[in-house]
Symmetry: C2
Subunit: 155 residues, 2 copies
Amino acid sequence: MLLKQMNIEDTIKASNKLPDSRRLILNILVTANHINDRIGEALKDFDLSIPQFNVLRILRGQKGKPANLSTIQERMVSRMSNTTRLVDKLIAKNLVERVTCEANRRKVEISITKKGLEFLQEVDPVIDKIESEITSRLNAEENELINEKLNELRA
Amino acid sequence: MLLKQMNIEDTIKASNKLPDSRRLILNILVTANHINDRIGEALKDFDLSIPQFNVLRILRGQKGKPANLSTIQERMVSRMSNTTRLVDKLIAKNLVERVTCEANRRKVEISITKKGLEFLQEVDPVIDKIESEITSRLNAEENELINEKLNELRA
DNA sequence: ATACAAATGTTGTTGAAACAAATGAATATA
DNA sequence: TATATTCATTTGTTTCAACAACATTTGTAT
């Protein structure tokens, strides 16, 4: 199978060659956008936004242990200003629940419900498929190499 | 100068090691987010949103030739649903202007104003600095390598 | 103890994005 | 030529995010 591949200049139809730094930056942004579009599209079938999906995965990662709002915020891919209302949405769907923490009554304990876990099990394979479809275009070493280089960029 | 560097598991504080595909996907998304945060922050000093900034750069890239709305949409880093109102904002600031195309009156011709060009000249060095600050953490070959690999991911 | 500061979430408001429908202009069809 | 179809953009509506102000609980210092 032959896949046509485009550099970013073509992709965003830049009129002239970009400076190297901007070229890489744009490439990362465009690629991230591409990924988000694909995942967001798939999640629409489940009436789930990307941030909502991320919160669910974070809560599952807690393995039963509830999480505070601030914990969720820290772990979000993109930091949200109003995580409260995001959680509200998930509560309305009975996918998560919230109780105020007894030890420190300012805090709040958020956890994923049984229904939430079951729901995730339906969503997961769809997203996994997209993710591995994308990353399978590179082999494991290339994959790992990019991981390292991106880590350096964020350093 | 020693920079502390974090892998994505640490960055998003994942409780367990992620599968390779998700690992790379998340890394790209987190990195893009990091870049957007930094650029968005800098643009705030100029009362400019990232999409607005992109439109201005697209129009400058036209070198005097005006662009249609649809042309702008194609070239945007992230596709927007309502570019009309985005352009309205820039018109309100006298940075761009819009006239309906004589040849095809459905179309509209959008171009950057003199003031817009001058404004971009102020903004550019600030953004360039951020962009090269980030990309300079890798050398030219690494930089180019990632570009290629990202192109393959989007293929 | 009391007062003051910091931590943690929530709520109100405003502006932007997503989505769908509508407008107006050009083109194709009958 | 009249009518339908498509194109390019705009507009209306609903949802969501950013930001700031607020409330409540906890911690600290006098």
